[in-house]
């Protein structure tokens, strides 16, 4: 059998790989068929019918997203019948869709609106038939507006097939069909881990992050507050994309400039805390290997809050394997509101910490009740006040882009500026936290040197890079063979956890990231990602690492100062108070 087939699209021959869909074949000859439910790598349930084309000899119209192209097939991609059918399909979808596009969070990035334009919808053709649905705005991270849902099923697929969480499924039938969690409850009362992958695949405004830009802008204009910002490693490789630049545009300096112009009193970097995380987590790993710390091997990383929710919900018996280190976001908040606030003479109650994250789960993490260790630290020093959180607001990449647009900054023309000291200092090891495998590579760069006293031969640990679901590397460390693993997406996390539960896990240390590709593919990142965009974002991250003068966390001078002046040493008493945490079984009612 030949590897290629030749068919005709609108009378012109096109040769494609055998097994291609008609949609792919059309794309190969420059015809862009509109789609809604179809999303490469995620969903192809052929539920919407927008992609229908005419195939000679076929009885009805054919859904091009699932139908394979065949040798000699004659496809009409834009016949009168096709154009009419497409428009009718979208008009029917719009019948029960609210007409509040002007105030929708997805204005400008709504696929339904783009497809409606493409197929020529010019009027509300049918009256609404669906009863209004209740808005689910209880979750700290995700808002669900089922009125805007077109039942394409992408969110269900990504939640089940990519993440292995299955918080949502179709419920009911006919006009009562809806995407629901068990018991038609709120996402907040479900097994949802707030990863936000549903919000990046939703074609409409039915699933969005909880937008907190108004609150943060108001605080930025409050003269009584000192509002500082920390930006996660991944943002520098995606904010440009969110603001209309090419995917993978590296905008570290412009981002700092934009944040300063938005009014943040200090522009700091979560990467500072990522370097700090490596110091703590690396020390914890070595202590566990030496049998001097509680906690089991293999040790599992704790940077990714969706993953933490996942193990707390689905595998609570394996929690002793998770590093006790807080995530960099939370380490930053705890240090900023304790050490830095005291050093600067700032009233910690007036200090507002805003984080910019590629993530929606970070919103939920910031609101975890135990994440107020700076307040406890001040209380222990005799300062009484109402409790305050270490991090006040966690904004997604998309929300920062929205704020930049709101204040009218011409982002592409901003100058390159630097982060502020001291919490803006970082190394390339922290930058690569953004890509799956990066935390592991950063940890190895430091741990190897701390244990052997020699630099890691060849600083880049290429074996743990890439997008394979589970990857591993074996390295010799002080005469011992050490096997480390890297997994991204929660479905792959299950593979690692099932191995640990079965006693067959070969690993000493495993990095687990919630989202596909790690934070570059996070649930707070620009919508509608694919592997090409994630790859470009990751390439930008590794490019940034290569050009930085310092590429190992223990070389970060500000982190050294923090230990010298305040923390003492990794895993010391203050570290335990401010930088480490505990996890507990999450019960879903």
């Amino acid at each position: 059998m030949s590897d290629t087939i030749t068919l005709s699209v609108d009378g012109r021959p096109v040769t494609v790989k055998a097994g291609s869909t008609i949609l792919d074949a059309c794309a190969a000859c420059g015809v862009k068929i509109p789609t809604l439910c179809h999303l490469r790598e995620v969903c192809s349930n052929a539920s919407c019918g927008v992609c229908a084309v005419e195939v000679e000899g076929a009885r009805g119209l054919v859904r091009s997203c699932v139908q394979q192209a065949r040798e000699g097939m004659k496809v009409a991609s834009a016949s009168a019948r096709v154009l009419e059918s497409r428009r009718t399909v979208v008009e029917l979808l719009l019948a029960s869709h609210p007409e509040d596009c002007l105030s929708c969070l997805r204005q400008g990035s709504c696929e339904l609106s783009q497809v409606a334009e493409q197929v020529g919808v010019r009027k509300r053709a049918y009256p609404p038939v669906r009863a209004p649905r209740k808005l689910d705005a209880i979750s700290a991270a995700i808002v669900r507006d089922n009125d805007k849902c077109i039942l394409c099923g992408r969110c269900i697929e990504v939640c089940r097939e990519v993440q292995g969480v299955s918080a949502i499924d179709y419920a009911g039938r006919s006009q009562g069909s809806r995407v629901a969690v068990f018991g038609d409850r709120s996402l907040a009362d479900s097994v949802c881990v707030s990863c936000g992958q549903c919000t990046v695949v939703c074609p409409t405004g039915a699933l969005t992050e909880r937008d907190e830009t108004d609150e943060v802008l108001a605080l930025l204009r409050d003269p009584d507050k000192v509002v500082i910002v920390e930006t996660a490693p991944a943002i520098r490789a995606s904010l440009g994309e969110a603001l209309g630049m090419d995917p993978g545009a590296l905008v570290t300096g412009k981002m700092a400039a934009a944040l300063r112009r938005l009014g943040f009193a200090r522009v700091f970097d979560t990467q500072f805390a990522a370097d700090l995380t490596i110091m703590e987590e690396g020390s914890e790993l070595l202590a566990r290997i030496a049998g001097k710390a509680k906690g089991k091997l293999p040790m599992l990383t704790s940077c990714s809050p969706g993953w933490i929710s996942f193990i707390e919900t689905f595998y609570p018996e394996l929690l002793p394997h998770v590093s006790s280190c807080k995530s960099p976001q939370q380490m930053f908040g705890a240090i900023a509101k304790s050490w830095w606030a005291e050093k600067e003479g700032i009233d910690p109650e007036k200090l507002v910490v805003v984080s910019i994250m590629p993530c929606t789960a970070k919103k939920a993490e910031a609101k975890r009740p135990e994440m107020n260790d700076a307040w406890r630290w001040w209380k222990a020093k005799g300062r009484e006040s109402e409790p305050f959180q270490d991090v006040d607001y966690a904004l997604s990449t998309r929300e920062l882009a929205r704020m930049v647009r709101r204040v009218g900054l011409d982002f592409a023309r901003l100058p390159e500026e630097a982060f502020d000291d001291p919490l803006g200092a970082s190394t390339g090891a922290a930058t690569i936290f953004a890509a799956s495998g990066g935390v592991m590579e950063a940890a190895v760069r430091t741990a190897y040197e701390l244990v052997t006293g020699e630099p890691l031969p060849g600083i880049e640990l290429k074996a743990v890079r890439g997008f394979e679901g589970v990857r591993s590397a074996t390295l010799a460390l002080a005469g011992k063979e050490l096997t480390v693993g890297v997994a991204h997406t929660l479905k792959n996390a299950r593979v690692v956890l099932d191995g640990i539960a079965a006693g067959t896990s070969p690993y000493t240390f495993v990095e687990i990231m919630t989202c596909p590709g790690g934070c570059v593919g996070g649930g707070g990142q620009p919508v509608l990602p694919d592997w090409e965009k994630r790859t470009l974002r990751a390439q930008a991250i590794y490019h940034e690492d290569r050009k930085l003068p310092l590429r190992k966390s223990h070389q970060n001078p500000a982190v050294a100062t923090l230990y010298r002046d305040f923390l003492g040493q990794p895993l010391g008493h203050l570290s335990h108070e401010l930088l480490h945490t505990e996890y507990k079984r999450k019960e879903v009612r």
Binding site: D169, S174, V191
Partner: protein
């Protein structure tokens, strides 16, 4: 309240059904049949999900899709009015409204697909798309008994009769029968 449901061993039933096609549907049906209020409580749905290792969201999906599954406690007696085309043309909407009024189901929306249960949990009134007894339209079913060529006058008689009987015996309501099982008597057939 759910004394009998707690007696029914969901886990054992799941063990028996596991791996068979339609295991989840079968399990839900058994749970509902064993429940004195003939419904699937959220607690039992969760137990079914755990027992079959199916995500709870999927169990909810199945339970909400099929009209056969009740998600609310059912009345001791169920009055099912056929809303198929033949029955409709012969006045089933009026019968439905009359039955709702007679049984005290104020607030019942005859256009809704859902069921309505009286506050005292004596009666549930519901509709069905078709009984397949179109020649005998309009048709209603009280518990497992089908009444055909129903008129408003006969409805009053049948329902007050059922009310009287209901007061005397707290009967176990037999489950709905299927093709191939002993057929329920079809009153008036062949007349």
């Amino acid at each position: 309240m759910d004394t009998r449901a707690s007696v029914f061993d969901i886990e054992a039933a799941a063990e028996r059904l596991r791996g068979k096609p339609g295991a989840l549907l079968g399990l839900l049906e058994e749970i509902q049949d064993a429940d004195p209020a003939r419904y699937l409580s959220e607690e039992n749905l969760k137990r079914a999900a755990t027992a079959l290792a199916v995500p709870p969201s999927q169990v909810w999906s199945v339970a909400t899709f099929y009209g056969f599954f009740n998600l609310q406690p059912q009345g001791r007696h169920t009055i099912t009015v056929c809303r198929g085309t033949a029955c409709h043309t012969r006045g089933s909407l009026g019968l439905l409204k009359d039955a709702a009024t007679l049984l005290g189901c104020e607030g019942y929306d005859p256009d809704s697909e859902g069921a309505f249960t009286t506050a005292d949990r004596e009666y549930t009134i519901r509709t069905v798309a078709c009984f397949g007894q179109c020649a005998l339209a309009p048709v209603i079913m009280i518990d497992a008994e089908i009444f055909s060529r129903m008129t408003p006058g006969r409805l009053v008689a049948v329902l007050s009769g059922a009310k009287k009987r209901g007061a005397k015996k707290a009967a176990h309501v037999p489950r709905r029968r299927y093709e191939g099982e002993a057929a329920p008597s079809v009153e008036g057939a062949g007349r």
